[in-house]
Each structure stands twice: as structure tokens, then as C-alpha cells.
Symmetry: C2
Subunit: 242 residues, 2 copies
DNA sequence: CGTGTGTTTGATCGCTTTCAAGTTCAGTGG
DNA sequence: CCACTGAACTTGAAAGCGATCAAACACACG
């Protein structure tokens, strides 16, 4: 057993040993020696809920892998209206290659653990490793699909359908098997009502009312504001408009 | 003069000689011999306004470059509600690598000219040419930025702001210099009121009312339904909410 | 000169927002 | 352990914006 592990992990940096990103994330694209080089300049750190990750000023930090927690990407209008335009979960790669701007801010929605790299190092690795760019491209395509699905929700669904869709989305992230299933599940919302509203293009009050409505209809249960139980995912899906 | 052209175009297929995609599009990533091979299996054709490009059944066609015209990407709900989730212009690359599904349909919003390739050929070229994948990645990132900007519009802007934003978007595509400027410009809308409504998450009547409102306020002029004149782009921008 | 499609305009309805209290919950100090 | 505090959340009433329903208009085409 330990012999086999030795074979598979020969030369893998300690930092990366237990890291999800090495398998499902972008680091899986790297050869052991590249991983060693990258690990030398990478650092693991924690960001509290609400902490900003890509502050317009502090662009120093470059890229990161999300090891745990939820990161929200937001855009806002000059008068302060805000819209969450993306959610990222472990082991997503965070940061925008090939461009400085984008006018997006990234914030920790929950407590977040990151593994961060200098921009320069990653940019070089991308140039050296087509497989790395391929994985980043694949993630970008996934994000684009998610964004477009969400555009349909934002533009065409009612408030109730939006909230139901949101619950399904979160359920499927937290409990991937349950997401496709039709039975029961339960989970904690990683976001406040205000954040949910900013994600759905609604107000905080409307989100609250629709959650209450789902609760009264017996589709969901709510405990301590954040904990959601779903008896029948199918019934929830029916309210989501498809 | 002809001598110089000979140098630059040596070995370039006739089909590609005048093609925008060879410079700004993905074909620019290919070496002359790759271009020759690709040109052998590629075909140029026209699709009338309204024609479907990625019909779920006819997935045969694979990928295309848009040579002219506007393509709209739409998603819809089971009950028929529709949302346009992307617009593509020449010389964008059309088609979704690495995946069959996506539940998106592509339709010609105007008359469209395409240069189409077999899926197989492109998939192989992507594997052979990191530069090609890089260009596709770059386009995907651009589309993601556009999608996210539009999420802000869909989720947080009023009907008037949405319509003004739409006009600015179209103006900047049709007349790139004017898009950044503050002066006057004019253009023809490439989409019907229904399509504009499906893009903005509104109804046809609301779109019409907001256009009329902008006209009455003197911000725009409308002739023959489709032709828009803008005296001051800055004034239009003020109505767009930022 | 009709016919049909796309657009505008009008009147009304209803959902979501807004404004305004309440209520619950987590954290703190007595 | 319990009362206090502030933040997050819920609930209520009223207003407003965009949707819906309906009709008129404009233009292209036969």
C-alpha cells in the first residue's frame, strides 16, 4: 500500500499532497517537476467571509486555486446596484489570464482557503504547457455555460422560479449526487439573503418572501435562516421553471 | 505591389485570401500548410435571417467562422420563454469544442455567411496547435466577459437603461470607433423588436415604449423602424445607467 | 387594393419594489 | 444562565414599473 502510494506521489510537493486541485483542478496538468517549481512560490492562506480577493488596487497577488469555501464575483453600477455574476467553488482556478481589467471584484462569500501563485509564474507555465491552457480553457467554457444558464434565469424567470433555481444550484454544488436525484437532501446556504438577492437580481425582501412561500407550501424547510431541507427535489424543480 | 502580396500570401488558399478570420479570427493561428489542409474540407455558405445553425438534430456541421452577419445564441424554458444569451459577429468562431450538449441554439439574426469545417478536422487541429487553442480560449474569455456584463444589465437595470445599453452595444459593434466616442453616429439595428426584447429580458411592447421615449426625449432618431441616429452618444450613455 | 407582419399606442393588471415595522438570531457582558 | 445589543431576516402596506390584453397603425408584398 505505501509502496504504491510512493509510486504515485514520487516527487510531489508536500503542500500539494492532499490538494484537490492536483486532481480535478488545473495543477493536474503539470508534470511533477513543474509542480515542484510552482510549489516553491505558492502560498496557502485563509480569507474571512466578506474579504476582497481581487481589489482593484492590490492586483499584485495574481492567481489562486480555491481549496475550500465559496467565492463570489460581482459587478456593480456607478450608483451602487450590485449583481453577482459568478460563484466559484473548490477546486476552481481564480484569476484572469491575458488581461488586467474586467471590472469584476471577487469576494469570499464564506471563509475561503486559497493556494496563491505569482502571476508571472503562471503566465510562464501557461506558455510552456498546452495542457494547462487546455484545462483553463475548459474551466472558462464551463463558466460561460453557467453564466448563460444564469442569464436565462435573470431575464426570464419569476422571483419564485429564481429562488427555487438558486436552491437547486446550491444543492447540486454541495451535494453533487443529490443535484441530479429527485429525493431528499439538506444543506446550509453559503450566502446571506442580501447576497442571494444580488445573485438573483431581486431585493432581499422578495427573496425572503419566496423562501417563506416555498416553506409554507411544504417544498422546503428552513432552520436558523441558513439551513435548508428539501423533501422532494422534484417538487422544488417543478417550481424552478425548468 | 503584386510582388509583396506574393510574399505574404504564398501558399494561402484562394478561399482564405480575403478572409477576415485569417487575420483577426482563429485561422490566424494556423501555419500555411494547416490552412491548406483545412481549406480542402471547408465550405462557404449563406444562411438566411432566422435560419438555425446548430439545430439539435443536425449536429453534423461542426464548427464555423462567421464571415459576415450576426448570429444570436438563445436558451429557452420548457414553456417557451426565450432569452438571447449571446451575439456573435464576424470573425467569431462558432461551435462548442469538447462537448456535445449545452442546450443552446444558434440562429442567424441577419443574413449570415459562414465558413464551415468538419468537427473532426478542427478537433485534431486544436490538439496539434496550442496557438489555435489559445485563440479559442481568448475568444471564450471575451464571451465570458460579455456574458457577465450582460448579467448586470439583465439583473439590475431598468427597462430604459436596458434599451439604451443595447443601443450602445450595437453601435459599438457596428462602428467600433464611435462606441468609445461621445459624438454622433447612426446605424441599422440587426434585430427585430422581438429579438431585442428576448435579448433584454423584456417584452416587445416595453422595448417599443422605451425606444419611443428616447426618441421623444431627443436622444435618438428612428427611421423605418430599424435605422437609428444618435446625436450625442454621451446623452445615450447617461440613460444606460453606466 | 387587400393581406399579413411588424410595430406602436392605450388601458389595466399584477408582481416586485419600496418603505416601514417587527422578529429572530448570534454574540457579549453582567 | 440570562438579559442586552446589533445585524440579519421576516412581515405588512402601498406604490410603481413592466406585463398583459387589445386595438390601431405602417409598410411590404401579392
Amino acid at each position: 500500500m505505501s509502496r504504491r502510494q510512493d509510486v504515485h506521489t514520487a516527487g510531489i510537493p508536500v503542500l500539494c499532497m492532499a490538494c484537490e486541485a492536483r486532481h480535478r483542478g488545473v495543477c493536474g496538468a503539470l508534470a511533477p517537476e513543474q509542480l515542484v517549481a510552482l510549489a516553491k512560490t505558492s502560498s496557502k492562506h485563509h480569507v474571512d467571509s466578506g474579504g476582497e480577493l481581487v481589489g482593484d488596487a492590490e492586483t499584485v497577488e495574481g492567481y489562486s486555486n480555491i481549496l475550500s469555501g465559496v467565492v463570489k464575483l460581482t459587478k456593480s453600477l456607478p450608483d451602487g446596484r450590485e449583481q453577482i455574476v459568478g460563484l466559484q467553488f473548490a477546486p476552481d482556478f481564480l484569476g484572469r489570464p491575458f488581461q488586467a481589467e474586467s471590472a469584476i471584484t471577487a469576494q469570499a462569500a464564506t471563509g475561503v482557503v486559497l493556494c496563491s501563485f505569482p502571476k508571472r509564474t503562471i503566465d510562464r507555465l501557461i506558455r510552456e504547457s498546452p495542457e494547462l491552457e487546455h484545462r483553463l480553457h475548459a474551466q472558462t467554457l464551463r463558466e460561460l455555460d453557467e453564466a448563460r444558464s444564469w442569464m436565462l434565469t435573470l431575464g426570464r424567470k419569476t422571483a419564485l422560479e429564481k429562488v427555487a433555481s438558486y436552491l437547486l444550484l446550491i444543492a447540486s454544488y454541495i451535494d453533487p449526487e443529490a443535484g441530479a436525484a429527485s429525493g431528499a437532501t439538506s444543506f446550509d446556504l453559503p450566502m446571506s439573503r442580501l447576497e442571494i438577492a444580488d445573485f438573483l437580481g431581486l431585493t432581499i425582501e422578495t427573496v425572503s418572501r419566496q423562501l417563506t412561500k416555498l416553506k409554507v407550501e411544504g417544498v422546503i424547510g428552513i432552520a436558523q435562516n441558513r439551513h435548508i431541507t428539501v423533501d422532494s427535489i422534484d417538487r422544488l424543480r417543478q417550481r424552478s421553471g425548468g
